[in-house]
């Protein structure tokens, strides 16, 4: 399957989906007007990839800000990750945030509570 590589814009994150390496990297603010439309191709890719994933999939997500519609989309995306983990696929999520971003930290903690079958590690980064 094809890889997806989207560059970061003012309102959408950089997205790098690599089926060969088994890596998913997402970095940047996410507040498009219609998040479901923007993430449609990402969700299609993820559903296809997780039908036959690599032995281990490493997922790095660093979203300093998500608007409420993006938050709903990421809830759906974590659901896809968890379903794969429940099938026995090794699926590791690093939830990355800057140490002073309490909202991003709380969002990661809430994902840990809601997707308890998924290996989510909170990674606090120091301010530059």
């Amino acid at each position: 399957m094809n890889n997806i590589n989207l560059e970061k814009t003012e309102h959408t994150p950089a997205i790098d989906l690599d089926a060969t390496a088994g890596t998913i990297n997402i970095t940047g603010d996410s507040y498009p007007e219609d998040s479901f439309e923007f993430y449609k191709e990402i969700i299609v890719w993820l559903k296809e990839y997780f039908q036959n994933p690599k032995d281990t999939t490493i997922i790095n997500i660093n979203l300093p800000y998500m608007n409420s519609s993006s938050l709903k989309v990421y809830f759906d995306i974590f659901d896809i990750f968890e379903k794969s983990a429940l099938k026995g696929n090794s699926t590791k999520v690093n939830w990355i945030y800057l140490e002073d971003n309490d909202i991003a930290q709380e969002t990661g903690e809430d994902f840990q509570l809601d997707f308890e079958n998924l290996d989510i590690i909170l990674v606090s980064k120091e301010m530059e």
């Binding site: 003012e10 309102h11 507040y31 498009p32 007007e33 219609d34 479901f36 439309e37 300093p64 800000y65 608007n67 409420s68 519609s69 938050l71 709903k72 809830f75 759906d76 659901d79 002073d100 971003n101 309490d102 909202i103 709380e106 809430d110 509570l113 809601d114 301010m127």
Partner: protein
């Protein structure tokens, strides 16, 4: 009508910027620089966390206006714009920054808005966080717009209760929302 006159200003509020016009995603994309530039001019030592929260709250408020404002215009399948007012200010009385938005709404939306806002304001931050998770969990695969998630996301960044009012005019009903940081 000139909706600027409808906004509740107080003598000791300092208006840092005010925008009255078409609110679209193009305006939203520029709001971070507008807020950062305006506020660092006002106070060079302002905390980065305050700037970030003001930006995040303004995005949510403006996108609400685009999606739900009366007479919003659909530009294409996923693009809407709507008229509204957006004010960034500093309140000397409580030493806080605020974002006010004001827009024309449908009469029948008043009750729904009031219910959601009252519910959010009646909860403490712990209850709000729990309720947010409930709404997200119940919404998997439904993709419904605006189940109150937006107001919860605003409330968790706000330092005070959400302050709102409805204004009846001969031109219709207007909704004003002010968030303090």
């Amino acid at each position: 009508m000139n909706i600027t006159k409808l906004a509740n200003h107080y003598e000791d509020d300092k208006i840092l910027f005010s925008y009255n016009g078409v609110i679209s995603q193009i305006f939203v994309k520029g709001i971070k620089n507008l807020i950062n530039g305006t506020l660092t001019t006002h106070n060079n030592n302002i905390e980065a966390a305050i700037l970030r929260k003001l930006f995040e709250i303004s995005v949510e408020q403006l996108q609400n206006i685009m999606s739900y404002g009366k007479n919003n215009i659909q530009k294409d399948k996923t693009t809407y714009e709507s008229e509204g007012l957006c004010i960034l200010g500093y309140c000397t009385q409580n030493d806080k920054y605020f974002i006010t938005t004001l827009n024309h709404i449908e009469k029948e939306d008043k009750e729904k808005l009031e219910q959601k806002l009252t519910k959010v304001n009646d909860m403490d931050s712990k209850q709000q966080r729990k309720y947010l998770r409930e709404l997200l969990r119940s919404g998997v695969d439904s993709h419904s717009r605006g189940a109150g998630v937006g107001f919860l996301e605003i409330a968790r960044r706000s330092s005070e209760k959400l302050k709102y009012s409805f204004k009846e005019t001969t031109d219709g009903l207007f909704f004003e929302l002010t968030i303090y940081i």
